[in-house]
Symmetry: C2
Subunit: 241 residues, 2 copies
DNA sequence: TTGTGTAAGTCTACGGTGTAGACCTATAGT
DNA sequence: ACTATAGGTCTACACCGTAGACTTACACAA
């Protein structure tokens, strides 16, 4: 964020609406407009000129707040991830992981067109060079797990298994897109009628199950498997009652 | 660089283009060149003009073999996924899932820059409208699981959990990118020195573990958890072995 | 032979893209 | 009053995907 005026002098924040045609730009305003645009029309719609138009400014003005389009995309990811609230203390680490997982799923469903960015952007950038907001969930989860009694190394392993599972679940759930929601026939809704019947008998026969995916339930089942597996394999140093 | 390959003049009229006409284009040739380009320089390097240059033809010629750049990307995904060999019968479903998982991981490591496409492209297209080569693994796994005694509905659930886990693992493993492989210090290799120490104590302290990720081992541990979990929760109709 | 249809590839052009660099302009600090 | 600077604009460039018309080369019927 921009460094505000020093608290030494009187706050000179007198802003005259005359001075600026519209309320002034800011990184936050730019990023939230960018997120809105991606949510509404997808990543490819986020161009500098288009975003500038939405904000009522010149395209080049955006470069004061993001060094490039790529950094803009990173900023969008950061903005979404900042919404991920880590459940407060008071419950065991398993319950907290459960809660965070559902929170993450909620975010993914709220911003489905950002998900590709979330899972993909980190692949291009080494950990230490990523936007801080992207690394923060990792740090917070490690802290939580260590706090719950895990040795740091085990905490990292749990984190990896857990977040990998989470990414995978979200991707899987979002893949169950319906081609034409208004269509009543499940086969048609998913476009499955275009698959050669003799080559894809099972996929076609599972049209109904494919069309109705209870993501929350499936997430819970996965968490059951994962958490009991993690508890069984490597226990925290201290038992958390 | 002359017409040495085809001395007979009967059907060897190939003089006009500035570059010597090599063997004719084909969808396979185009896609394999596209894959090579993505492997070498990343997705953003795959432009029509650049690919055409690599193939020694005009950019517009490519449209005879792919309707658009997007379809080209789908083709690249299909090409990679076609390499995924499903283990033959003779072993139990759990062993086969294990083998396929390692095969998938091998592919991901062999084509890291294609992975974003693999996990991301399906999000844009409903199941039935995807390239057939993309749906084939789903069909094959369903067939295998049903063959192993699962009810189709359970097979689908297993598939979802399994492939979700697989996607997640691969994404997680590929995220452990080293900024500068030649650097000896783990902290520096991952660029972790740029993280504020007081805000990211755990991430920084785990530099060594982050830099040395035994992906195969972690995959196996995850598979252990997943498969025992799956066996425990929903059994096949008939007991195998 | 000639004519014709067709597939493969080329050329040109259009509207769009990210962004470098020069420029403008209103304000803050001296 | 002067000037430095931050915020925003303008212009320009190289590149992008691709529509549409054009050029071939060749198979085959007459």
């Amino acid at each position: 964020m921009s460094r505000s005026t020093n608290p030494v002098g009187a706050e000179a924040a007198q802003q005259h609406p005359r001075a600026t045609r519209r309320e002034p730009l800011s990184r936050e305003r730019v990023l939230s407009a960018a997120l809105a645009l991606v949510d509404a029309e997808g990543v490819e719609a986020l161009t500098m000129r288009r975003l500038a138009r939405d904000l009522g400014c010149n395209a080049m003005a955006l470069y004061r707040y993001a060094a490039s389009r790529d950094e803009l995309l990173d900023g969008v990811v950061e903005t979404v991830l900042a919404e991920l609230v880590i459940a407060p203390d008071g419950s065991g680490w398993e319950d907290r992981l459960r809660s965070i997982a559902h929170e993450f799923r909620r975010l993914a469903l709220a911003h489905p067109r950002v998900v590709p960015l979330v899972v993909t952007r980190p692949l291009a950038t080494p950990l230490g060079l990523r936007p801080l907001g992207t690394v923060r969930p990792l740090e917070m989860l490690l802290a939580m797990l260590v706090d719950a009694g895990f040795a740091p190394t085990d905490a990292l392993r749990v984190y990896r298994a857990y977040f990998g599972f989470l990414y995978g679940h979200v991707l899987t759930e979002l893949q169950e897109l319906v081609a034409s929601p208004e269509e009543s026939d499940d086969l048609l809704r998913l476009g499955l009628h275009r698959l050669p019947p003799q080559e894809f008998p099972y996929v076609r026969s599972l049209a109904t199950e494919l069309a109705h995916y209870d993501g929350a339930a499936e997430l819970d089942q996965g968490l059951d498997i994962l958490l009991t597996g993690l508890s069984g394999h490597r226990r925290p140093r201290t038992t958390v009652g």
